[in-house]
Amino acid sequence: MTLGLSKDVWAGAMLIAIGTAAMLIARNYPFGTALRMGPGYFPIILGGLLTVFGLFILACGLRSRERIAGSSSLRALIILPISLLLFGVLMEHGGFVPAMIVLIFGSATAAAEFKFIEALLFSLALTALSVVIFVWGLGLPYPLITDFH
């Protein structure tokens, strides 16, 4: 994944984005005075500081050619958060067992050396183990399976 610009340009841009967003949002909170600081005081200082750091790193980045190092797995970056998302939804609407199976099997597909049968058996086994440890053993109050309302 080479995104054209050098690594630090992206790094600086990210900080500037977070910093200015924090300042813009915190503008709506009472600022107060140095004596009686309002809820907006500290966030605005921090946001400003972050923006300054961001500008500095961005400026350094414009002169450097260091690209983002190492290979990245776009597959993992997409699949793992989605697996967590599905787990969250299923815990509320499907029960512990389907949530765990989907999370474990789903996560497993993120690996380049994914093997279908192995991952399926593994997710079933680990789910069974989790039911024993967490639901029956530690008594976590989750229904094993519901009617997907």
Partner: protein
Amino acid sequence: MDLFDNLIFGFGVALSLQNLLYCLIGVTVGTLIGVLPGIGPLGTIAILMPITYGVSPVGALIMLAGIYYGAQYGGSTTAILVNLPGETSAVVTCIDGYQMARQGRAGPALAIAAVGSFFAGTVGTLLIALFGPPLAEIALKFGSPEYFSLMLMGLVAAAVLAQGDIVKSLAMVVTGLLLGLVGSDVNTGVQRFSFGFAELSDGIGFVVVAVGVFAIGEIIANLGDKTERRGIAATVTDLFPSKEDLKRCIGPILRGTGIGAFFGVLPGTGPAIASFASYMLEKKLAADPSRFGQGAIEGVAAPESANNADAQCKFIPMLTLGLPASGVMALMLGALTIQGIQPGPEVMTQRPDLFWGLIASMWIGNLMLVVLNLPMIALWVKLLQVPYRLLFPAIMAFSAIGIYSVNNSSFEIYLTAVFGIFGFVCMKLGFPPAPLLLGYVLGPMMEENLRRSMLMSGGDATVFVTRPISLAFISATVLILVIMVLPAARQRRLEIAD
């Protein structure tokens, strides 16, 4: 003697059947994750923290601490046997440890690592017991300006001394401070950065940030990393080091312990730096430096003592001042807060069972590690054969259960996913994630102390430099920054980082 009374009291707490069990669980889990590459103590402690909610505060802390120093032992085992540092602190141990293993001396290498670690752990425990109470005594006199300046110094030092770009570390601290402000403001009740989510009014869950960045983010990064290092497992035959070996190692163990203890109390320096520094020192002092890298037993003894001493001494600022010196200590502080204990110097007087019990348990835990580890080496090596493609879905599962069980809320699971992506992006862009956690833990406390200081002084910001203790902290902060910005120091840091 006060010290001995206190220690005996502590052993009384730590030797209760329940706490012994927590200690055993802690060090065993710690060794396990120390052996397994790809998951470190930070991620594990974050994942397991929800389980400790039902446990007593002492038990919880004993177990979490056990994971932490247990991981150091486990990391060195794989470093020696398969040239695979389970933890970053064991990277240096690989150099001579693996060479020794290849020469058929894996046993003595493992034994000396255990002996060195145990000695360093004992000294570390004593140091905490010795210096903890007087430090807390001083800290009890601190007012808000002193606390603010102390936290400022701690955060800046942690960011500056950590590995990686200084400005980026500082930026992560500030980002962490901002994250810590999410939720309703304690003074006015104004909702800050909650974007209309009722779930955010109590702030972002501590476990959510920690697990998201250190477990999920780490996994995403690991899956993209195609370099895989595997060595050939050496067989362990003769365990006992010779008299000659032991004689060679006395000096390195003593010096390693000293270096480790020194770096231990400094914020931001991980055990990796301490072990590296002690290795370099031994190489300089050696009569024949060329032996290093060829299986010199001193090259195992010194760094192993150093990283364990460092790990133990990191507890000193955390327990006495409420100041986390590393990411793991930030997690420990978080665990204390969740247990309803306000971290700071009062812990020692109000909860002596917690302070002395934890200290005593660390010594017991170190003893357990020596006794348990050596016979179980064969088992640990077997575990190494578990492929990562099965390991990481299991980590995902335990993370998810852990987070969900805190508030039974799916919202926190979604938030964890977001922090996982954020953590991954940070790592890719060269931002070290640990300072984020330090800032996050200290954010609310820092703002509160800043506000109180200003109220106290009538809005006069010079209060931070007119009070002597506060001035000392501020001066130290400026000094650290100046030294690090100087070109020579910058250059050296880069060299060390390489």
